[in-house]
Subunit: 506 residues, 2 copies
């Protein structure tokens, strides 16, 4: 340890000296081997587990997460570091595993991974052209093409990458607020009427969170009823707008959803556009989840009318399977992002630079330093072509069709929606002991407990991960969500067999 | 091309079949070799350039950023993809190069890089324990230890990782607002008095941006004067608080800065604490840049009193040289983050899970899906030990001392501050043609043009990158900022010689 300690203590010059460099290079290569073999290859293999479950307290004892402090404060040696890499992999959920269908992201795309690793090696921050020339132009190219695909008018509009779809939805509210009340930038909400935001009861909770953060308050978010297929009821929207106006509020924005989180419903954009025009409101489409359908000629009808929206949230890290995280906010309005958010800091956005400073795009964001989330997706797009992305989307929907058909006539399987629109399939698995007892008073209570129990079992075995949730009084049901292109129809069969195996005795 | 196209078109099952897998693995390994050799090793070598400058329009022609669309929509072959990797590296700024001292992040720490690459391979999103067990506990461990180092009371308080220091400063305003006016969560700013925020004229622009985003408005941000050393003037703060109150505003928060962006000044926290107690305001310390000094026994006095603050922004990706991005918000108040931001979405934060759901920490954030920014820093901390991080900080400050002394008596070099506090050194380089002409009417105008010209030359040669800016009427000056542990005293000499070489004929 004495020698090691001495070595480490000279490490204030990481790359400065040749011996340091050799040692770092050796560790880097060894760690990379472990990462490739254990996380990338074994971690995405059907032969391996999706997770190696430990309770929080147990995991804390198993994995040495503590940081060196006190008198010792000793650094770890390379063998220990490699063990920590291995343990981190072992106890982490394998989100790239084909049997991980628990969230609205999954899979481990090889091109996306190359893009991430390259981004990390270049360690950029995207705010000025001078420090991020390639990433700046890459963002421009990707955002422009995404706006084209949405159908926004050519040569106008704007877009940014955001740290998640929630923030993108927040940008929508911020842009709408500035668009109608530019004085908000200096005067704030003080003196403005109460601003009302409308979204469906099945919309993502970020609309509520962002309205709260932006100072509108949760009470100003009106939850519009959904129809039997989970889509926003345009007639009820009209009622709520009237109600809001009668209570003295100013109707600001409708956030329609293209692909709701649980049911995967697509709100009807065209009638909502009409309502927004009638009431002079901003139409935002939260297509964080379902936006990927725009890449498919067979599926883009799901977002019919999206080109009429004022803004769109679209996360390539969801249906398009880019690595976490890759979220965009797109708008048809040129200048509104800069108008609402710029601060013109002279230490960063110097006007006397020697190049065209319109390429210094950072001031449109509320972030200053910002990771580049574009390269991974751009690289995937280059590798697959637009046709490859379309095939990916079609493949996902085909798998959903297969799964839906496979469970339709199977005893104990009940769809929540007969015709799901996105790649969500929501269903109850009714164990044999509960079948035919729908009329009993405690049926729903008992069914409510089935999914959590099956989930517990699958987590403890590590055999797959799928999520469950209640919804508007309905007992807990499972939600299958597909976005990993690694999943096949055989995997669909596996999911069915596995849930039956884990739940048939309940 | 025919064969290739056929291959690619079957790629809707990335990892599904053995031949796909072999092909992906081969590309991944080849790309990794390029990334290691060209970005990691050559990109951080003093023998290489910091940047390969191209004007935006020129770069657009050189590097094929376009996305495949139209009828062709062809995917790129592997040779093309590898060329794109190489070109992306070639034309990107080498932020890990020891001569890149342009921003408040730099360097390419080998342990940090391992942590990033491992994070990417695991592709996590941190909101619930079940999908991110290791990252959840890792965040808890790091945030707890950072709060200990700040000096917050043990066993209370909270913290989160944020997408940048700007967002962390936004969390401070949001938490303060909820702390004093919990009804804001439902009612919004409507009906509240105008809320006033105080920060220094040299504070980071994110305070203004975030006050605007949160609906307070830019006029509610009061810019407190700084003293001759760039530190907030506590007496002027008192005046402004009185003025704000007289105008009907409610003084909400003071955002002190520990390490201002340009001058590197540390606001005097203790007198500001007293002012906040007197006026019942929240004291936030934006230590995004200068917080790293807390790791050094020799330097932590710069933040004397920080343990008395209500909250702190501290970015390990700045002085502590973690990869971009790694930003934290820390607060002494337990529960305020959840109180201000939770939405209790039942599809994600199910209360009937089989484990202790207090470990599902996502609802404290305004983001939903969220990249794990903890592992890279945790891994660096493990590798270096707390002592290693301390040595890193001391090394940076020692280099600053060396640089400052080296230029002090050198003709044509003038310090903006005689005694800079953080690792910023701001200076003018006065070319021979301007020396001794301080009394001439156009001296400042001419000096103002020197730094941009030198900057243009260094960018076009790619020999180094350092930034310049004006400040409160002062003509453009350079700002040296150190946080990369790769920089040595020889590098300080290089910076001096290089600026003289590029500017002596101006």
């Amino acid at each position: 340890m004495g020698h090691l300690k001495q070595q480490r203590e000279s490490e204030d010059s990481w790359y400065a000296t040749a011996p340091d460099r050799q040692r770092h290079e050796a560790l880097l290569r060894k760690a990379l081997d472990v990462i490739l073999e254990e996380a990338v290859f074994a971690g995405t293999s059907r032969d391996g587990k999706v997770c190696e479950w430990r309770d929080p307290e147990e995991l804390r004892k198993t994995l040495d997460l503590s940081l060196p402090h006190g008198d010792g404060k000793e650094p770890a040696d390379d063998a220990t570091l490699l063990r920590l890499v291995r343990d981190t992999i072992k106890y982490s959920v394998k989100t790239g595993h084909p049997y991980f269908i628990n969230q609205l992201y999954s899979g481990l795309d090889p091109y996306g991974l190359v893009g991430q690793w390259l981004t990390d090696a270049l360690n950029p921050s995207v705010y000025t052209y001078e420090v991020s020339p390639v990433f700046t132009l890459m963002e421009e190219a990707v955002l422009q093409e995404m706006r084209n695909i949405v159908g926004f008018p050519v040569d106008q509009g704007d877009g940014i990458f955001c740290p998640g779809g929630s923030m993108a939805n927040g940008y929508a509210i911020s842009c709408a607020r500035y668009h109608y009340f530019p004085e908000v930038k200096t005067k704030g909400m003080h003196g403005l009427p109460r601003l009302a935001v409308f979204t469906s009861e099945d919309a993502h909770y970020s609309v509520l969170k962002m309205a709260t953060l932006l100072g509108l308050g949760g009470d100003s978010v009106y939850m519009v009823r959904t129809d039997a297929r989970g889509r926003m009821d345009a007639a009820h929207l009209d009622e709520l707008v009237t109600k809001a106006r009668e209570s003295g509020a100013h109707p600001l924005l409708v956030s329609a959803t293209a692909g709701t989180t649980v049911l995967g419903a697509y709100d009807p954009i065209e009638p909502l556009t009409a309502a927004c025009r009638r009431h002079n409101m901003w139409l935002h489409v939260d297509a964080a989840w379902g936006g990927g359908a725009l890449m498919s000629r067979r599926r883009r009808h799901l977002l019919r009318g999206v080109h009429l929206a004022d803004s769109v949230t679209w996360n390539p890290h969801k249906l398009l399977a880019a690595p976490q995280q890759c979220s965009t906010f797109l708008t048809r309005h040129t200048g509104v992002l800069g108008g609402a958010h710029s601060a013109k800091a002279t230490y960063l956005f110097q006007p006397d630079k020697f190049y065209d400073t319109r390429y210094d795009t950072g001031d449109k964001h509320v972030q200053c330093g910002r990771r580049a989330d574009v390269l991974k997706f751009w690289f995937m797009w280059k590798a697959k072509g637009t046709l490859g992305l379309e095939k990916h989307i079609d493949h996902l929907f085909d798998n959903v069709t297969y799964f839906k058909e496979a469970i339709r006539c199977r005893p104990g399987w009940e769809l929540v929606l007969r015709e799901p629109e996105c790649t969500n399939v929501c269903f109850w698995y009714v164990p044999p002991s509960l079948r035919g007892q729908q009329d009993q008073a405690d049926y729903n209570d008992r069914l409510h407990k089935v999914a959590p129990k099956i989930k517990e079992r699958m987590m403890k075995e590590g055999s797959m991960m799928v999520t469950y949730q209640p919804l508007r009084g309905l007992p807990n049901f499972f939600r299958l969500v597909l976005q990993s292109s690694a999943t096949t129809v055989e995997d669909m069969d596996h999911f069915i067999c596995e849930i039956e195996r884990l739940g048939c005795d309940l």
